[in-house]
Symmetry: C2
């Protein structure tokens, strides 16, 4: 079996991959991959546009393991047509994204962003209205890995935790879950609203002016996941009109966020450059997830975890 | 029984105080207190220099409940001589200080301060070396309420938690505790060092160049508690020489931190203006602590929790 690696991996991880799979591992990291070799590979780790060429030729590709949680940038129709298993890194970055989300929440209630802004002016100014996460209400739009890992981190704060997902199905750790159609009901009592939606045809602009209008004027809106699930124009309007008090954003409709975008200069906005998914644990977690799936693949012919359902688009 | 209130309290809290204690409550909040009335009070809530005058006159003061955790600003010798019980708010602000400490830690590992600095220049720049709290080592200098509450918040991160206290006695939640004399041993493996020491004759400048020299060059130093427990000149030198990588400070040797202090403009420094102790839960927590003590005081003649031992100075 041939495995092509398009993702840059540390040498010890490449060794682990080769040893555990017993496959011929071809490392194309930081190189333009050879289409013929890709076409001869049973499994591909990582992504490069050359994979499209390989898929459109005579090929043996059975499984693509990508290094991202989202798959909106991939040729899903082609992958589905070619019956390629597609597994994502969605479980692998959720714990660091959860830590970043908790960082945003604590910065907000402890006014740490306010203090840093003052610091850059050498100003000692006690922030007003400092609060806590204790006993407050948080609504997660999207109740997947990121939300579930964040919920674990929130355990010591005794919060009221509600969720929104496609059907309103129950999820462990959430007091109540609402269906997407009830999203305004879900957010209206929340002090914090955290969106971690994947981008699909159903989630595009799901968080829009109707949702912002339903929020408490004291609410914080946090967005990780994918930028186009938030209507950014509506968000800017809602912030200006006091429909919510602040926002912390890691993802944007256009990335990098254009330098003339109004969000950059708004005082109640915290911007991070799509950095939540990065962590020193990332490669090892994705590889371990792949290797666990590889055991299933050898035993049963298919990976079992983090497999994209092409009909759901995630 | 007369109780004088020098601390500003919400009307519902004043009602709760009067109802629960059945005392005559005199509210001097935002007023200059009358020394005679203070002298006739059995209990005083809050602090004002006029209390010194009352203590130096013929008085009935038995108990002073202050609204701070530290007591270094109080006339401890006079209070000891007059056999006044002194109870602090040390338990009441530890949970919000813990939240602020966790905020500093997450800002650091997720590079949120870096991103906010870039944001203020409208710059999209992916931070390098983003990490997690997961499985890392944290050393707490001081293992009191603040450290213990922080440890509770760190539970989901599976960290290696060590402590430093006067005698090296064990504390629940800490894997190992060192005595103050072994402080360099305690910090040398730590990725994060968090000082929450009270200021006493023994803790002044306890964290100094010897301690910084023992830290890992990748370590973050966090200081809450009292500023004079850190030798600030040594800290600035250590940061300049790379003996540690960054610091987050809520307390300083001189407060407000003078506008010409070098710390303001250093890029690896986060400054908050002694704001960690403030919270919307603060008054209710101090009052509830006082009322629990009041039951003991009525039953046994003495409060039982958060009572200052004048020999220890905390």
């Amino acid at each position: 079996m041939k495995i092509s690696v398009l993702q840059t991996l540390e040498p010890d991880l490449l060794d682990k991959l080769a040893t555990t799979t017993n496959a011929e591992v071809v490392n194309f990291a930081n190189k333009t991959p050879d289409v013929q070799t890709l076409a001869e590979s049973e499994i591909i780790l990582g992504w490069h546009p050359a994979v499209v060429e390989a898929l459109n030729s005579s090929h043996q590709i059975k499984w693509l393991q990508v290094w991202s949680a989202g798959v909106d940038y991939l040729p899903l129709d082609l992958l589905a047509q070619e019956q390629v298993f597609l597994t994502t890194a969605s479980g692998a970055n959720s714990f660091n994204i959860a830590q970043q989300v908790l960082g945003y929440l604590l910065m907000h209630v402890r006014h740490l962003d306010f203090s840093l802004r003052k610091q850059l002016q050498s100003k000692w100014e006690l922030p007003q209205g400092q609060a806590e996460l204790t006993e407050r209400t948080i609504a997660f739009i999207g109740t997947g890995n990121i939300a579930q890992d964040t919920v674990k981190l929130l355990t010591p704060f005794n919060m009221n935790i509600i969720g929104v997902n496609s059907s309103g199905h129950e999820v462990a750790g959430f007091k109540q879950c609402y269906a997407t159609s009830e999203i305004t009901e879900a957010v209206k009592e929340a002090d914090f609203v955290v969106s971690s939606l994947p981008l699909t045809t159903k989630t595009k602009h799901l968080v829009n002016k109707t949702v912002f209008a339903a929020m408490k004027p004291t609410a914080l809106y946090v967005a990780v996941g994918r930028g186009q699930t938030t209507n950014q124009i509506d968000l800017i309007d809602a912030l200006k009109h006091g429909e919510l008090v602040a926002t912390s954003l890691d993802v944007f409709e256009e990335e990098p966020l254009p330098s003339d975008n109004k969000l950059w200069s708004m005082e109640n906005v915290v911007i991070t450059p799509h950095s939540a998914g990065q962590s020193n644990f990332y490669n090892i977690r994705v590889l371990d997830s792949f290797l666990a799936n590889f055991a299933d693949y050898q035993a049963n012919g298919a990976p079992s975890a983090h497999v994209v359902n092409y009909q759901n688009e995630y």
